[in-house]
């Protein structure tokens, strides 16, 4: 059950972020003031990918809650941070981002830090 929940958390987080990143980059950059963020809410309601990404976020949130109910937080946090690696790989393959050696190394070092911090 733990591993199933963990897989759902990671898959849903990755799906949500990929959809958001893809769709937000296609839009013109959003101004970050009160009005800009309010209009962003409106944009979300009109874009299928963004609605889907929020739905995935909800799935990931509730699965994470269920996960920490049974598994210790010191397992749940670093394990779900594994979504990091999954997402970085998908960002390169699907979103065509250029993950340079420096960026990949940085992501790995951060992951190592999270694992140590959560112990």
């Amino acid at each position: 059950m733990t591993w199933l929940l963990l897989s759902i958390v990671i898959a849903a987080t990755a799906a949500s972020d990929l959809l958001q990143s893809y769709e937000m980059k296609r839009l013109a950059p959003q101004p970050v003031d009160g009005r800009g963020l309010a209009s962003l809410l409106q944009t979300i309601a009109q874009r299928r990918y963004l609605i889907l990404s929020i739905a995935c976020l909800a799935v990931s949130f509730f699965s994470f809650m269920a996960l920490v109910q049974t598994a210790p937080l010191s397992f749940a946090v670093p394990a779900s941070a594994g979504s990091f690696i999954v997402e970085t790989i998908l960002a390169k393959m699907v979103l065509k981002e250029q993950v340079s050696v420096r960026r990949a190394a940085g992501a790995l070092v951060v992951l190592a830090g999270i694992v140590l911090l959560a112990r």
Partner: protein, 136 residues
């Protein structure tokens, strides 16, 4: 432009940490057991600390989405991991938890990783930052 992205991500991380704190505080002080029935979730959402927490988390999500419009996902993700450090510090100073040498090492590693990723170009796809000039 890059400076703006960093500061927005900083605000995002702060908002998320405070939102989670408010949410945790609110649910801990809520008299009913949450898992029992969905209605108690709804009632909890109306209590002030929980409502404030949720509002902050929604704002944080919108901010992050706006940043994703101009910066790569593989850039934003590691940078926002600085939030784990915040959580550890909040745990130390508010909940008086011990911070072991192992955890300090973890903190240092996160800072090093963030510095590495933060020094790469924030947008490497044809969209985002550059779309500004092309699309309108």
């Amino acid at each position: 432009m890059a400076y703006r992205t960093y500061s927005l991500l900083g605000v995002f991380v702060l908002l998320r940490a405070l939102g989670n704190l408010s949410l945790a505080w609110g649910t801990k002080h809520f008299p009913e057991t949450l898992a029992a029935n969905p209605l108690s979730y709804l009632r909890a959402m109306l209590s002030p600390a929980v409502a404030v927490g949720i509002a902050m988390l929604i704002l944080a999500m919108l901010l992050r989405m706006a940043v994703l419009g101009v910066a790569d996902l593989s850039f934003v993700l590691p940078l926002t991991a600085i939030g784990y450090v915040f959580a550890a510090l909040l745990g130390k100073f508010i909940l008086q938890e011990d911070v072991t040498p192992e955890r300090w090492t973890g903190t240092a590693l996160i800072f090093i990783g963030v510095a590495l990723v933060g020094s790469t170009p924030q947008n490497t796809t044809p969209y985002g930052g550059k779309a500004r000039g092309e699309s309108k």
